[in-house]
């Protein structure tokens, strides 16, 4: 396999995964065949030697949010707990192509968060300092520095929301989302994990206070342990078990332009004007912004949200004014009140949760899988997962990352 950084596409391996018939039972059943579910299965096998594992997916592998995100990778969150788990992910990203023997087009082209108000500047500098204390690479950029790194940002002082500065994480960047999923799936399959597609979970089997299996559209599958890694549909699954969660599912839209020559060298995000933009390896400008406010499972959003983010994009990048939108879409993101994930045990024995990643799940894929696998294997939360217990909503120990989430909630 050749490594083709840039605007080419990687050579694909000749074989990806089997299409097995489900066995009658497994040691672990992972519900959800997206990036996090596949990574969970892979690390169960690779780190813990648990290979009698099935991933059950109601559609096709990685056809949900893993196919719908904007591929941004960064770890510059505010709080120690967040820096720990997202930086763990970023370190795993840095060796993932070798680890999975698959060129996922991971490109550390940097991530820039623009500031347009004094409040923005103060919050962003606080985050830079917090990141530096947590060992996360973070820099403060003055407008001249921004011009040097990304010359196409409009830095003139007479626009409606002038750019006053930015944070920059040089190790951040993008990766090819499909390849990430396929790489995890192929590696998990090679270690013996059964990837079972088009098997929707319609119920659970319980014995007293413990879960013993899942009922799927491909029949009943016994399970020693069950891991719910189902993003936007987690509430639907949990409600079958009588578990209430502090999650709301929303459409989060994104869009791409037609293919353009290389014009945008980094990733630029702006919370205040509100858009984030990168350029995919193939050449599309990839953009996203805030989620659609009403709850929704329809995988589509309202057009005024697209209009706003395009207006923001053109405000920041006048050069994009003649680019055409090629297509728009939405994923269903499960958002917790503090914009942080929920990972760990549940009131039901042998049932584990990894959800609530909201608008920021893609970047966390390796870490989410790593800590979830450890949590399932040990039956108790991995050290990095402990702050993310469901019980934090009772104790009040929230991990508020609305400021660093980069997406209006």
């Amino acid at each position: 396999m050749t490594v083709t950084e840039g605007f080419g596409s990687a050579d694909h391996p000749p074989f990806l995964w089997r299409d097995p018939t489900p066995k009658s039972s497994y040691d672990v059943v992972v519900v959800g065949g997206g990036g996090h579910g596949l990574a969970t299965a892979y690390y169960l096998a690779r780190n813990h030697g648990i290979t009698n594992v099935a991933v059950v997916e109601r559609g096709w592998l990685a056809g949900g949010n893993m196919a719908r995100n904007t591929t941004v990778i960064r770890s510059n969150y505010l709080w120690d707990e967040s820096a720990a788990i997202y930086e763990h992910a970023l370190k795993l990203w840095e060796t993932l192509p070798q680890e999975l023997d698959y060129d996922i087009l991971f490109s550390q082209r940097g991530v820039m968060n623009l500031c347009h108000t004094l409040g923005d500047v103060r919050g962003a500098k606080r985050r830079v300092y917090a990141n530096q204390l947590d060992g996360v690479d973070a820099e403060w950029l003055e407008p001249d520095d921004i011009a040097r790194i990304c010359p196409i940002v409009d830095l003139s002082p007479d626009v409606r929301y002038p750019v006053l500065g930015a944070t920059f994480q040089p190790r951040g960047g993008i990766a090819k989302h499909d390849y990430v999923a396929w790489a995890y799936a192929r590696a998990a399959d090679a270690l013996g994990v059964d990837l079972i597609q088009h098997a929707e979970v319609t119920g659970f089997e319980l014995d007293g206070d413990r879960v013993t299996g899942v009922v799927t559209t491909k029949g009943r599958i016994g399970a020693g342990k069950v891991a719910l890694v189902a993003a936007g549909h987690t509430s639907v699954l949990a409600s079958m078990l009588g578990i209430r969660l502090p999650l709301q599912s929303h459409p989060l839209q994104a869009l791409v332009s037609e293919l353009l020559e290389p014009v945008h060298p980094t990733v630029v995000m702006s919370n205040a004007v509100h858009v984030y933009v990168s350029q995919a390896h193939k050449g599309e400008l990839v953009m996203g912004a805030g989620l659609d406010p009403p709850n929704g499972y329809s995988q589509r959003g309202s057009f005024h949200v697209i209009e706003h983010q395009l207006a923001a994009a053109i405000e920041l990048f006048p050069i994009f004014a003649r680019a055409h939108v090629l297509r728009t879409w939405a994923g269903i993101v499960d958002v917790a009140p503090d914009a942080s994930p929920i990972i760990g045990t549940t009131p039901i024995r042998d049932l584990f949760l990894d959800c609530g990643w909201g608008t920021g799940g893609f970047k966390a894929t390796p870490s989410s899988g790593w800590v979830m696998a450890a949590t399932v294997a040990a039956g108790e939360p991995h050290e990095l997962a402990r702050p993310y217990a469901l019980s934090r909503f009772t104790t009040g120990a929230l991990i508020d990352e609305h400021g660093a989430a980069g997406v209006a909630h």
């Binding site: 709850n295 929704g296 329809s298």
Partner: protein, 94 residues
């Protein structure tokens, strides 16, 4: 864009409204006796159905009044709309 039926102004474009989340989440009747788990339930836990959902909207760019809508979160079909404080149509009185 959603078409939201304001009980006073009629159907108007979604962009005129603000969203208020789940409707009928009642403040604890006797808050001094409520334990942490019950507070967590009131403050943070919410229904999140894939299907009909009773939710709050405010007509921010219109009459500025709050009201409730029952909308299917999968199809976006609206089946009921009624003033804040009124019971959900078809729901058992409590």
């Amino acid at each position: 864009m959603l078409l939201i039926p304001c009980p006073w102004c009629g159907p108007r474009a979604e962009i005129e409204f603000r969203y208020g989340g789940q409707a009928h989440v009642a403040y604890p009747a006797d808050p001094e006796t409520v334990d942490d788990a019950a507070w967590a339930d009131y403050v943070f836990m919410r229904d999140n159905p894939k299907g009909p959902f009773a939710e709050r909207w405010v007509h921010a760019a219109g009459c500025r009044r709050w009201f409730n809508v029952v909308r299917d979160t999968l199809t976006n079909e609206v089946s009921a709309w009624y003033p804040a404080g009124a019971p959900r149509p078809g729901a058992a009185a409590s």
